[in-house]
């Protein structure tokens, strides 16, 4: 009786989970950066795009394959993040959120504009690595191997990040430095360095998500701009600053969006914003957020 609809439901849930893994990885990076630096990083989408482009450069200029790019591209993007933090963001420490937001938004426009000027808007092709082509017939759907890999890999990265920040001594120091930087500095810990590295790590996560998405989407200059607004909504819905929450919300909203694509596809690009509006009306600090 439920034969076909159940099949459709399962497959859409799975697809939602896949898209959710991108939301999770990106909103995780945003949450880490916001939590530690108090900066709303609007350049996140542009850095995600750069991750994909670095993978493309590595392949086409240096012959480095997908697996190499998976390691190198986040490092390159992370290094760029360190430079951005040291040369620009650091000067905004202690100022209103708005300054950081404006600066990073401007950076995003410059980076995207630059790439678009050189590479146009249609983008560049990036093939799925040969080890992950093909797929599995799950009975209710055909699951491409690559998408399965994306879910498993991003879930692992998300959980590892959560673990590092919540359960290790380095994470404890980071969290302490956010609460009271002066006191932590008194213990002889180099707080500015820690903040720089945190920003580098946060944007490296974005770069990593970019590499993951390169074989699925075209490597396009605007790929991040299309995604970043949704990711911000994810963060707002979950409540800014909490790591586990942003992971869970990312996956959950991916699923919501996936289901909308079955029941009312026309609304699939606004459903997350509708949820955001409702959440803000009922609980302005976000679903799991603490009121300021």
């Amino acid at each position: 009786m439920f034969g076909i609809p159940t099949q459709a439901l399962f497959s859409q849930l799975l697809l939602g989970l896949i898209n959710g893994s991108f939301y999770a990885m990106l909103s995780l990076g945003l949450a880490v950066i916001f939590g530690m630096l108090n900066i709303v990083n609007f350049a996140h989408g542009a850095l995600y795009m750069m991750g994909a482009f670095v993978a493309w450069f590595l392949l086409n200029w240096f012959g480095v394959n997908y697996w190499g790019a998976l390691v190198l591209a986040p490092l390159v993007v992370g290094a760029l993040g360190v430079v951005i933090e040291r040369t620009m963001l650091q000067r905004l420490a202690g100022l209103d959120h708005l300054y950081g937001l404006l600066l990073t938004f401007g950076l995003a426009l410059i980076i995207q504009g630059g790439f678009q000027n050189v590479y146009g808007s249609s983008g560049q092709p990036y093939a799925i690595p040969p080890q992950l082509t093909g797929g599995q017939n799950l009975g209710f759907m055909f699951l491409p191997n690559y998408r399965a890999w994306v879910v498993v890999f991003s879930l692992t990265v998300c959980l590892a990040t959560w673990f590092a920040i919540e359960k290790t001594s380095l994470g404890a120091k980071l969290r302490a430095a956010t609460e009271n930087p002066t006191l932590v500095r008194a213990f002889g810990i180099n707080v500015p360095l820690m903040i720089t590295l945190t920003y580098g790590f946060g944007v490296a996560l974005a770069g990593l998500a970019g590499v993951l998405s390169a074989p699925i989407n075209q490597v396009r200059p605007l790929m991040g701009a299309d995604l970043i607004i949704v990711v911000f909504s994810v963060v707002v819905i979950g409540g800014m600053g909490s790591i586990m929450v942003s992971i869970v919300t990312g996956f959950a909203l991916g699923i919501c969006e996936g289901l909308t694509k079955v029941f009312y596809p026309e609304a699939s690009n606004i459903v997350i914003f509708v949820i955001m509006a409702v959440v803000l009306l009922i609980k302005p600090a976000g679903l799991f957020g603490r009121a300021a």
């Binding site: 808007s121 249609s122 790929m223 596809p265 606004i270």
Partner: protein
């Protein structure tokens, strides 16, 4: 004495009018998607094409002053409409060209009619521009949804693809393309198993593709364009659509899309266009000159080539009129009166309803082994003559068509 004064005034007035008819300044605005999914198909390349037409017209040497400007409508009809109004009211633009995105194009066509200027559309697809929304100030130049549907749709059904599932971009263009293709499929004895409408600029098509897969239709018709089409095709290959026995029909595909996809993914797709750079000596000549000046050496798309052809004919009409009369309907009437001839489409004509007609072609994307290098992508499968390619004038419902 009184009589002489009156004559003198009359002569002066006439003189003034005479001078106005001899006005030899033209301002052309390329209203386009400059930054998003259609920017490579039209975008700055269309500004370049319009500039080349201005240079090739030879009018500058004859003392004309031709200025080409560009504007970004961001795929929003309200933004496009307000740029068009500003161009017409403040900047004295005489002609708006290209304008992909049917939603924006329909809005600009109406504004152009109200302000009595000229709108030569190359990039938008909706056949409504020469149907119920036709205008004495608008010419639809390069292609339309009817021509695409009629050529690709017929060919696919004839080759055995008789059940269809549509993946449709959810705005004026997608709806028109789906409607026109569905009509052809049904008329050729096929059936439509289902359809799904996706928002413009969707990054992930997997969910829609899965719905198409469950429909068991033989053909998945992509009634979308630009980045949406390339993403659908790429992800269809990932989800093993072809190995499941289903085929894609890209109802609108441009050479830039194929370039972006790469031949590995795009090979074997059949689709319809009215221009390809490698058709003959003339198209190659124009395209080489274009590629020398375009971003990344890109060959012109059908839309950009159409923009060149349209502006060239517009300037010919102005020259025939002896100056810029600043009367859009008059210029368009003159353009319809004159036969067209250019390196892009060869000889052609413009119909009463504003439809420019020329042959359209059914192409197939080459296999990687067949291609000699970048931009060598198409095999010509069939040519549809001009009088069969487009919708018969009597079926369009255009109020301009009498009898």
């Amino acid at each position: 004495m009184r009589l002489t004064t009156a004559t003198a005034i009359a002569a002066l007035t006439l003189g003034a009018f005479g001078a106005q008819a001899q006005d030899k300044t033209v301002k052309i605005g390329n209203l386009n998607d400059m930054s998003s999914l259609y920017a490579d198909i039209g975008g700055p390349g269309s500004t370049l094409a319009a500039q080349m037409a201005a240079e090739d017209s030879g009018l500058v040497a004859k003392g004309w002053k031709i200025e080409v400007i560009g504007g970004d409508h961001q795929n929003k009809p309200d933004v496009g409409g307000s740029i068009a109004r500003q161009w017409y009211d403040v900047d004295n633009v005489d002609l708006i060209v290209d304008t992909p995105n049917s939603g924006v194009a329909l809005a600009v066509s109406q504004i152009t009619k109200d302000k009595n200027r000229v709108f030569l559309n190359s990039g938008a697809a909706s056949s409504d521009l020469t149907g119920k929304a036709c205008s004495p100030n608008t010419i639809h130049w390069t292609y339309d949804t009817y021509a695409l549907a009629n050529t690709t749709g017929k060919a696919v059904v004839k080759a055995g693809g008789d059940s269809w599932f549509f993946l449709t971009s959810d705005y004026a263009f997608g709806h028109a393309l789906e409607r026109d293709t569905e009509a052809v499929v049904l008329a050729s004895g096929g059936k439509v198993a289902g359809k799904v409408r996706h928002p413009l600029n969707t990054p992930d098509f997997s969910s829609f593709l899965l719905q198409a897969q469950t429909s068991k239709a033989k053909i998945i018709g992509l009634a979308n364009a630009g980045g949406d089409t390339t993403n659908s095709i790429k992800q269809a290959s990932e989800f093993g659509i072809a190995s499941g026995g289903q085929q894609l029909a890209a109802l609108l595909l441009f050479v830039n899309d194929v370039h972006a996809l790469g031949l590995n993914v795009a090979q074997g797709l059949t689709f319809t266009e009215s221009f390809y750079w490698d058709l003959n000596e003339q198209t190659r000549g124009f395209s080489d000159r274009f590629a020398k000046r375009s971003k990344g050496g890109a060959k012109p798309s059908m839309v950009q080539a159409g923009t060149y052809s349209a502006v060239l004919h517009y300037l010919k009409a102005l020259e025939a009129l002896g100056g810029n009369p600043k009367d859009g309907a008059k210029v368009v009437a003159k353009m319809k009166e004159m036969p067209t001839d250019d390196p892009i489409f060869g000889k052609g004509t413009i119909r009463q309803d504003g439809r420019k007609i020329h042959p359209v072609y059914l192409f197939e994307v080459k296999k990687p082994a067949e291609s000699k290098g970048p931009w060598d992508y198409y095999k010509l499968k069939a040519t549809v003559p001009a009088d069969e390619a487009f919708r018969p004038m009597k079926d369009g419902g255009c109020p301009l068509v009498k009898g």
